[in-house]
Symmetry: C2
Subunit: 462 residues, 2 copies
């Protein structure tokens, strides 16, 4: 720890080459770590204070794990990397000629981060495809706040159903719709059924939580299209078995407080509306707003949901000192998964290290090594696809657990997560079912003047 | 679990005597448990879905424990008590003649709970003494939402200080003011210094977290006035040692975004203003709004912050079938502590059980057995006062830990809490430092159009 220098808290007066990393997800963290001991000053900028382990976010949303168990404070994670400085703030834009990134603090004031090398790992956010009004009814699955909002919606739906006198009134509260049949959607749908069948099964008198209907809507012709057909079919069988009702080949075309509408993708374009008080949204992602400012400043176009196309070495065309990695980069149709971001981060960190050490720009092309992918379906069922290996069912599930524990940051998170998993498996309960209302004032008066809407997703005054 | 009966989900058609308990805190839980197996139908109504273990709330606020570790879902806690039904809702008022309690669901609709016996254990909330506008700057310490808001304020204050260029600008962000020198205030103040000195100490570059000033303001002439003078003095020595600046004999007379004003209680009435971006409020409690409706319906007056005076058997004068227990009851100046609520709950449960079994009203007076009290001051320092036993320092601290673990609900919470304590003691880190912004939409755009105010305490649209 160094004592504060009055005029420069952000490295403005340093003489070593300056690396700025935007985003503390997998890409940013791996880039920062690769730069440990390299003769550069690194600033990692993030909108939040924690690195979130997104592959387990759905377990926080469904009451299995706490926010702390699936995240690590960025400062704590990088405390051993002496040349990395963490800054809380949101990237707003860059001056590509002057090589300065502008960021804002949470009070709206701005500060500048000069850079010699810029690594953009800002990620994607949930996309509502022109229907941002859905967000109030259908939270996405990208942030810890999303997870807590989903937890609140799920728990409150069962409570609301319990308190209503007729089956007809209870039905929409016991119907849970999930938009999107990728890993996140499948995992959420499976977890809701498990929550209902195990943790909640014996705790209600008027309703039977096991009657909870979970509807999974997907545009493709099979769930988990990133896996091969055989694994995808195995996942579908498991979903059928645990009671998730899967609807393939449909688009969600409307979401409101009480229902969701789908339209078939075939020629008939049949519309259907389902009464559902809980809708969760995992159908697609889009670039964060900073990507547009970046593309504009660099004179490049955004493609595929706002992604930025990169050269084989992950630099932006015409800008050999600016890299885009992770979900936000577009290269050879690489998927938006953690592994691509990690390897991209390590690759760029390596390029910068060799450039510094060798004195000439290192333009080594990025080679992605597909280590495989895994998806949790239900208790004792997961998929694993890695090189020639194909696993489903129990074996896939054990491997899935081992892989996720290995990649969680820190021993305490690993141990805490293992403990919670063991307890949940053995006792069928879930420890993190506490709900919060979003702020002290609405918690103080959660009923007096709030509508269902604002309980479901409370929104701050603007 | 019984299948739903269309016309009655809340016991309206039952023939056994009906007991309604308002509040799932210590009083409500202990009353419900005492009624296990008694020939009555019990409905426990609460505004939330969890029983919160309030004595450890400050540890959730300061990043030591998760929400799930200091709370238990009411349904889970009472799942073994077959004649107890849990209902989510807020008590609005009663018809004392018709013996019906009216409650509201979170969508604003209402439902009725007829009762033969009514136990009111609705508790107190943080009091701002006519200055409810302080709440936006100074969250209280009564709910899980309060804890998460405090966690966000604390973490963001250090981050904000780190990003500011001058010592002058950083100072108010590194000044933390706590109003109230009771156990909650003392515990919070001590924890903030420990957070700064241990968990955060080596993670910042521009600031030294250890420089964080913690100001504790108290109206009395010594902190922890419920303990004897010697223990109180020992606590003060520990507070001095860990660096909490205690100001006695002062009232807080103003709180705003950037500062707090105090006025001395002596004749001079000297006013002082301290620049502080973080103010936490533990100075006093007041009855929840339902207490006024209850007092009105029963024809009694509220005293001492809205409390309701009860007969020696804890019934409301003139209403032998209505009891008030816990913090909300006023009897012989008994303190508002968990132990009084627990024993009150057990007492009333016993009275009802004997009334049912004996056929005549049981009016046994309540005898409070003071089992002592404990307060955490800092690492290796706590107070314990029980009968002739007086402990402070390390011995008090060990006893404090044992007592709190014993009273936590459930083995998993106990084990998880012990584990987190052990890890924090050994490694000086804190596992639950993840912050949330209150809802998905402000998390999506936490900087774009939010002011410091709305980050600090986000408020829903009304």
């Amino acid at each position: 720890m160094t004592t504060a220098q009055e005029s420069s808290s952000l490295g403005l007066q340093r003489s070593r080459p300056r690396v700025v990393i935007v985003g503390g997800g997998f890409g940013g963290i791996y880039a920062a770590r690769r730069l440990r001991g390299v003769d550069v000053d690194v600033t990692l900028l993030d909108r939040g204070t924690s690195h979130v382990f997104q592959p387990l976010l759905y377990q926080c949303a469904t009451g299995l794990l706490s926010e702390g168990e699936i995240s690590s404070p960025l400062r704590h994670l990088l405390r051993g990397v002496r040349n990395v400085h963490v800054a809380l703030g949101e990237a707003q834009g860059i001056d590509a000629v002057g090589r300065v990134l502008t960021a804002s603090r949470f009070d709206g004031s701005t500060f500048e981060l000069p850079y010699d090398y810029l690594i953009v790992a800002a990620g994607m956010r949930q996309a509502y495809h022109g229907h941002d009004e859905y967000i109030q009814w259908a939270p996405g699955m990208k942030t810890l706040d999303d997870a807590l909002a989903i937890r609140r919606k799920l728990i409150c739906a069962f409570e609301m159903a319990e308190s209503l006198p007729t089956a007809e009134e209870r039905r929409p509260w016991l119907t849970f719709a999930v938009a999107g049949g990728g890993p996140t959607g499948v995992e959420l749908a499976g977890q809701i059924r498990e929550l209902a069948m195990h943790a909640l099964a014996n705790e209600f008198q008027s309703i039977d939580p096991c009657e909870a209907r979970v509807l999974l809507f997907h545009g493709g012709d099979r769930v988990l299209q990133s896996f091969n057909r055989k694994l995808s079919a195995a996942a579908q069988r498991t979903l059928d078995k645990v009671g998730v009702e899967t609807h393939l080949g449909v688009h969600v075309t409307d979401v409101c407080e009480t229902s969701i509408e789908t339209t078939a993708k075939n020629a008939a374009r049949t519309k259907k509306r389902y009464g559902a008080r809980t809708v969760l949204w995992t159908a697609g992602v889009e670039a964060v707003p900073f990507a547009a400012a970046l593309a504009n400043a660099l004179g490049v176009k955004q493609i595929q949901g706002g992604r930025i196309a990169v050269e084989p070495d992950l630099t932006v065309p015409g800008h050999p000192n600016v890299w885009v990695i992770g979900d936000l980069m577009s290269l050879n149709d690489l998927p938006g998964v953690a592994e691509v971001a990690m390897q991209g981060g390590r690759h760029v960190g390596g390029c910068i290290a060799r450039t510094i050490e060798g004195g000439t720009p290192d333009r080594k092309p990025f080679k992605y090594r597909d280590l495989g992918s895994a998806a949790y379906i239900a208790r004792r069922h997961a998929l694993l696809q890695a090189g020639p290996i194909r696993m489903s069912g129990f074996l896939g599930w054990v491997s899935w657990g081992a892989i996720h524990i290995a990649f969680l940051a820190g021993y305490r998170n690993r141990f805490g997560t293992l403990l919670n998993w063991a307890v949940t498996l053995a006792s069928r309960t879930r420890r993190e079912r506490a709900i919060t209302y979003g702020d002290p004032e609405s918690a103080r008066q959660p009923y007096t003047d709030l509508t269902t809407e604002s309980i479901a997703v409370t929104r701050p005054e603007r």
